[in-house]
């Protein structure tokens, strides 16, 4: 009944005040500047790395860029893979402990402590890994290579310093642990309370409840949390740069003193003394790392967006 005046009036528009336009302009400019900034990152990296793809490539005894970046890319993926094997199960365990096992009062304290672990600067982790963890692991490596030397992973003589790719991976695992734990905890907390109570009421033990209600619901969340952690592990620099002494090798051996280096740590160690062609080569490896991490993070976001926490039972 009152629709007549609304229909008759033309479409209302706010008055275009200058201050309004300026403010909107500033906000839009800020938003666009992020677009521009990321574009600049890509463009400048590409421009500076072009010389590395030329024919007269000669860095550290390699004759073309692929030969140089290959072992480094292998080291990056291998170290991150080892770190993820260790970190993901432990992180899921901690997240389950906080959400379903710990007394409620204790749980928030634990959450804070885990956040604290996330706040420790990476250089401190590196210092700790090289000085404390390496010394602690040294006898274990000697034992592994003496007694389990027939397994290819532990072949050859053990490192005399304990500074091996396994030590570096343990440090990496400790560093990505808080990220995966925090995200998995969020996912587990979103499990519908009724699903949990229903399965307990049917006589399930706590583990059966977790297996049937919590884990299926959180599966996609765990996967994307792990991939985000992997993205962090791939780009982590200082821990590996401080623990490993670099060499351009491809080797799966965990306990040896000769270890593959990673892209990020190689940049950190070589850049301060690099000049000329090597600078472009290092920037080009940085570009490769940039692309790898974008792909990995994109995969995580895609998984999270494709399966937005609906869980098994709906």
């Amino acid at each position: 009944m009152s629709s007549a005046p609304a229909a008759a009036s033309p479409k209302l528009r706010a008055k275009g005040r200058p201050a309004d336009i300026i403010f909107q302009g500033i906000s839009t400019f800020a938003g666009i500047s992020i677009l521009v900034m990321l574009g600049l990152v890509a463009i400048f990296l590409v421009v500076q790395s072009i010389p590395a793809f030329g024919p007269d490539f000669d860095v550290k005894g390699t004759s073309n860029f692929l030969e140089y970046v290959g072992p480094l890319a292998f080291g990056t993926v291998w170290a991150s893979f080892l770190a993820m094997i260790m970190a993901v199960p432990v992180a899921i365990g901690i997240a389950l402990f906080i959400t379903h096992f710990a007394p409620r009062k204790l749980a928030s304290t634990i959450g804070f402590v885990i956040d604290l672990l996330a706040a420790v600067p990476s250089v401190v982790f590196g210092l700790w890994g090289a000085n404390v963890l390496a010394g602690f692991m040294k006898p274990a490596y000697a034992w592994l290579s003496d007694n389990l030397g027939f397994i290819p992973l532990f072949a050859g003589t053990a490192s005399g310093t304990g500074r091996t790719i396994l030590t570096a991976s343990i440090v990496l695992a400790v560093m990505v642990l808080p990220i995966i734990t925090a995200l998995s905890r969020e996912v587990f907390l979103q499990t519908p309370r009724l699903h949990e109570e229903a399965s307990l009421a049917l006589g399930a033990t706590r583990w059966e409840m977790i297996k049937m209600a919590v884990l299926p619901f959180g599966a996609s969340g765990i996967v994307s949390a792990s991939i985000l952690g992997l993205g962090r592990a791939l780009g982590e620099t200082m821990a590996i740069a401080m623990v490993l002494s670099p060499s351009l090798v491809v080797s799966f051996i965990l306990t040896s003193g000769t270890n593959p280096s990673t892209i990020a740590s190689n940049i950190a160690l070589s850049f301060p003394e690099a000049h000329g062609n090597e600078v472009s080569a290092l920037i080009a490896t940085g570009l490769v790392l940039f692309i790898i991490t974008i792909l990995v993070n994109g995969l995580a976001r895609w998984l999270l967006g494709r399966n937005p926490r609906t869980g098994g039972a709906k």
Binding site: M37, L38, F97, V120, V132, I283, L289
Partner: protein, 361 residues
């Protein structure tokens, strides 16, 4: 009927029959560790090697994980045994995470305390060979570089968040959100390379180093964090507040400045503080673009500038004449860094608590 009488007759409590008592896991735990300790004691005596506490912990835990489920399987059945096994496993995972944290804190505090003195915070490394010296130049550098990064990222971050929440529609807003996501995942060393590529092209100097480059690199890491947290906070501001303001005839920009931002201020301040805490410990980008020096440099725009994380790294990697003195300086630097980060985190929590908008308004 008959079974019930039989059960009462046998004087067993039917509710707890077929269950392990409450103390059973603890007894099993103690027994497992005692067994493991005994085992290692024998090995240590027999082969005259050192007694290994780590070995006892590992073997004791494994024994516990085997013995308790086996006992439980006999008394309580398979399902309950599985439950006990997984409980042990999950608790073990949780305790495992505390080992590195405690070890790290203990080493940093005990090793860092030695040089945590006045000299460390009043002197630079200029003309210092061997013992002595300090990190004042690195502290000043860290403060300046982080200040620069904050000055760049906070306005850009907050205005981007305002755009996304208040103005942004359609594909531009969606694209910016995606790009912020991508920016969150950039490896820190890549931002250092970017800043280097940018400035060395701008000044056509292949060996370019300066503090402002470090600020630019850190701001690439900081902006997405600021955008994310500010966005979350702006979204929490109730729409009724905005509508009430519009209804009174207040222009949109004034509504944002006078109504939306003050309501979200505490949350934004917390987010910014946490973002600062995140970038203040970054090493890799500064190593590349700010470089290292032993002297004080107050000028953000020229010459190399030392920062605390790079100082720690440099003292460790290039200790010079007196290795132990350099390592002590590195550990004290690590202690200082951790203290700064913890203080920033506490400030963020306090700000969030004190200035939080009162509920039920």
């Amino acid at each position: 009927m008959t079974t019930a009488t039989a059960a009462t007759g046998s004087k067993r409590n039917t509710l707890t029959a077929g269950q392990l008592s409450k103390w059973a896991p603890w007894v099993t735990l103690a027994a497992s560790f005692a067994l493991a300790a005994g085992l290692f004691m024998l090995v240590a005596v027999a082969s005259s090697t050192d007694f290994s506490w780590a070995g006892v912990a590992i073997v004791g835990y494994i024994l516990f994980l085997i013995i308790l489920p086996v006992v439980s399987r006999i008394v309580e059945g398979g399902r309950k045994a599985m439950d006990r096994f997984m409980t042990g496993l999950v608790t073990g995972a949780f305790l495992l995470a505390f080992i590195p944290l405690l070890s790290l804190m203990w080493t940093v505090v005990s090793e860092g305390a030695a040089r945590f003195d006045v000299q460390y915070f009043t002197e630079s490394m200029r003309n210092v060979v061997g013992e002595g010296g300090g990190a004042i130049h690195a502290l000043v550098g860290t403060l300046l570089v982080t200040l620069g990064a904050t000055v760049i990222s906070v306005p850009v971050g907050i205005f981007t968040a305002i755009y996304l929440v208040e103005y942004g529609r359609g594909w531009v807003a969606k694209g910016i959100t995606t790009l912020v996501d991508i920016m969150t995942g950039i490896p820190s060393i890549v931002t250092g390379l970017f800043a280097f590529a940018l400035f060395s092209l701008l000044f056509s100097d292949p060996g370019y180093r300066s503090g402002i480059g470090g600020s630019v690199a850190l701001s690439v890491l900081m902006i997405p964090t600021v955008v994310r947290s500010t966005e979350e906070m702006l979204k929490l501001v109730p729409n009724e507040l905005r509508e009430a303001s519009y209804a009174l005839g207040v222009p949109k920009w004034l509504t944002i400045v006078k109504v939306v931002l003050p309501t979200a201020l505490a949350g934004i301040a917390t987010g910014v503080t946490l973002a600062i805490a995140r970038v203040i410990g970054e090493t890799a980008p500064l190593l590349i673009i700010a470089g290292f020096t032993a002297s004080m440099n107050y000028n953000l725009f020229s010459e190399r500038m030392m920062t605390l994380p790079v100082y720690v790294y440099n003292q460790y990697i290039a200790p010079g004449m007196n290795v132990s003195a350099a390592h002590e300086r590195a550990w004290t630097g690590a202690l200082t860094l951790i203290l700064i980060v913890v203080v920033l985190n506490l400030i963020a929590r306090l700000v969030a608590k004190i200035f939080a908008p009162k509920a039920g308004r």
